[in-house]
Subunit: 207 residues, 2 copies
Amino acid sequence: MVNSQLGTEEKILEAAKKVFHRKGYEGARMQEIADEAGINKALLHYYFRSKEKLFEAVFEDALSGIMRLVSTIFFSDKPLKDKIQSFLCSYLNIITENSYIPWFIINGIYERPEQIKAIFDKQDINPLQLMKLLKSQVRKEYGVDINPFQIWLNVLSLSVFPVIAKPLVREIFRLSEETYNQLMEERKELVPELIINALKAYEKGEN
Amino acid sequence: MVNSQLGTEEKILEAAKKVFHRKGYEGARMQEIADEAGINKALLHYYFRSKEKLFEAVFEDALSGIMRLVSTIFFSDKPLKDKIQSFLCSYLNIITENSYIPWFIINGIYERPEQIKAIFDKQDINPLQLMKLLKSQVRKEYGVDINPFQIWLNVLSLSVFPVIAKPLVREIFRLSEETYNQLMEERKELVPELIINALKAYEKGEN
DNA sequence: GTCTATATTGTGATAGAC
DNA sequence: GTCTATCACAATATAGAC
């Protein structure tokens, strides 16, 4: 049950986030969202018309959140290593309270590719700008020319995958919640070093 | 429509793979599987009794495939870098024809945690054995003591995430299928180097 | 705006003929 | 073993009272 201080629309949105984040579009049930919000199904349709529209609102919220985080950090003027570390820390802290979001976003494009593509088209942040910046920053700080998409894939992979695969990895190796969180904590140092080391190695190889 | 040379049970299983891999449990429809197999719904139940059981067969197949690949490569006696590279190459080649499998497996534990845990319990390969081997191999080859889980997380992250996130990344940056595949091809060299560089850097730092 | 009741369709599963 | 027909129920969505 969601905080009853909120207006009805907000209550619905908060409930919908909880359910969609956890179950995805196909797995989510309007009834469950209504229960979670402490209202009945009819009101969901009164405010959002359809499951599809409600999902859209939830997805847009999650997407804009992560995009805002990325652009705030990576369009700043800190050294690259600091950016990567800030991103990782902020990301992991957000995820602590909302660990289903990364899966939810990736899952979205598998479940509803057309709808999600339309949502992306509405975003105003230009991701190619970020790649340009990344490329020039690497050239300036490390004196090497590297495909920025590869660096970005590395950053995302090392940051996001361990969060998404957490339930699976925990099950495979029988790791406690605590043990796994400890691993993630260590990665806040380890991942930036890994990526920067690679750039430095490249730097030496080039000269 | 699946190859009509196969027996009915095999036809069903192949059709079920196609549909479940692509849509997951919740998104899949028994009707669609029947159509894909060129038979009717009743036969699905005749052979597999329920959607749950059919899903179980498909999931076990996918899981045992990837586990067999991992253990074949990592329990061999090649140098670590060769193992990582072999894994990445084999993995990416398999994925080329079956690009939904990584998502399907991770998604499974979000959609059906209890069922998937039971399937894991039936697997006979011991993953902790692999971590022990990894740890001792790193100590022998690089003279450093590192938490093998971190190394393994890095290998998996850098190999698997770019496959899972492919539809999303392609959409965000408007990359063609061809361009993205080219990126992946480059990673067959890039990723092993990245991981090995990190170990070498650690080696120097320790001495 | 919010509720109850209901329409409508989708979907897993089974019965029973052949 | 395979099919058609159908059940039983779940799920989205709407009608209409208050």
